[in-house]
Symmetry: C2
Subunit: 229 residues, 2 copies
DNA sequence: TTGTAACTCAAACACGTGTTTGATACGCTC
DNA sequence: GAGCGTATCAAACACGTGTTTGAGTTACAA
């Protein structure tokens, strides 16, 4: 009833809160929400689990955000992954830039830090909320566009749009496989360490594998369906 | 209390049930469970939703299966995807067999029929239950082994195990991308029809793209990192 | 007809969920 | 100190969950 007027007058300035030594309840709530939502998705996450991790009372969620859904929206910070995109100013050639992008993306997908976002994305892929549209628009779409530009720079401007799109999917699919099928890989090959060196080797393989595919598309040779050994 | 002794004496012979014109409650329950579990995963699925779709009372689940979890186990029929593997007797060469496999897998992943299993697998990848170990052992592992044999037949027996493994991941990753990122693709490219012809074209692209990668691995040329345009 | 077993059902149970409430403590101005 | 807004809390609320119960119905044999 009277809940609508509450949150506006409470803590509009987050800097005043962050100035304290220990983060205030609202900030701890946001941090905990990011963790729990990434682990369990929107439906699977419970406000009690979030509040327990934040060390606040259950009522704090509705006190600061009015609802679990509003907390979900407020907790997401889907700023574009600029670190993956700012290679445009890089002087390297397109082939090297693609290899670097693959390595950065793979690191982001596998590392425990960046995996928080991609973990949440996986939940959204299975049970989309309204948030998915925003994620696709602000994060995923720039990624696809960037890879598409790299592919076009490598194979030439005459590539058909469908072919370009499929090449982007092929490259991104190889990378995202290591996150989506992570539980499968760990069961099939428990010996893989997935440390920094393994990630680098894997990224190098994906880059080499993909550049070979792009090179074959670049040369207008005979169709592959009729190829015989 | 007395529930343990019940289900053994009830309906051990499913054929007697299937002989009727309309499937009995137990069979309808299993069919509905397969649908709802695939849509929502184990946690997201509710016994009331399953029973509503099956047209039976809520008590039927515990009457026939003792628990929601037992219904989950009974509903899963993860027989190996033999249709994807029986190409071993096929006389075609390894390259053509790989292309055929990719097309079959892609059809299975995208088609609404086969997607029931892969949809459930996606839920298991996010929130693994004990069922995932069984799925990996009986379904996923044979798939990886089969692709590994095809890759080895194409690039030769001298390929390093890590390289072989990464090639398998690259091929499967390109295919599974169309399922895992289905919601992203539909938002980025709503114009794609994904009918039979589109699937065939996509499969042909993945096969060509992958064969180019395998061919480059087969020829022990210079490393790709030092390549310049 | 009677008895027995399999089956079905509405209702209830115990518990977890998001949300609300009323009270209490803190920090501030007057 | 009085007054007031902010913040925190335990407790309760309404509802959805898996599960159980006890009565009712059906089918078939004695």
């Amino acid at each position: 009833m009277t809940a609508l007027a509450q949150p506006e007058t409470k803590f509009t300035d987050e800097l005043a809160c962050a100035a304290n030594e220990m983060p205030c309840a609202r900030e701890r709530l946001l941090a905990a929400a990011r963790e729990v939502f990434a682990e369990s998705g929107f439906r699977g996450a419970t406000v009690r689990a979030i509040c327990r991790r934040a060390g606040v009372n259950v009522a704090a969620v509705n006190y600061y955000f009015n609802s679990k859904e509003a907390l979900f929206s407020a907790a997401l910070d889907f700023t574009p992954l600029n670190r993956l995109l700012d290679a445009e100013n890089s002087p390297a050639c397109a082939r090297a830039r693609l290899a670097g992008f693959i390595r950065e993306l793979l690191t982001h997908l596998i590392s425990t830090r960046g995996s928080q976002k991609s973990q949440l994305l996986m939940h959204e892929l299975l049970e989309p909320t309204l948030m998915l549209d925003e994620i696709v628009r602000d994060v995923i779409s720039p990624l696809h566009t960037h890879v598409g530009q790299l592919v076009r720079a490598i194979v030439g401007p005459d590539i058909a749009p469908e072919t370009l799109r499929r090449c982007v999917f092929s490259i991104l699919g190889q990378c995202t496989f290591y996150r989506h099928s992570n539980e499968v890989i760990r069961r099939l090959h428990p010996e893989i360490p997935f440390d920094e060196e393994e990630i680098a080797r894997t990224a190098a393989h994906i880059a080499e594998f993909s550049l070979a595919g792009l090179d074959r598309l670049a040369q207008p040779s005979a169709g592959p369906e009729t190829r015989k050994p």
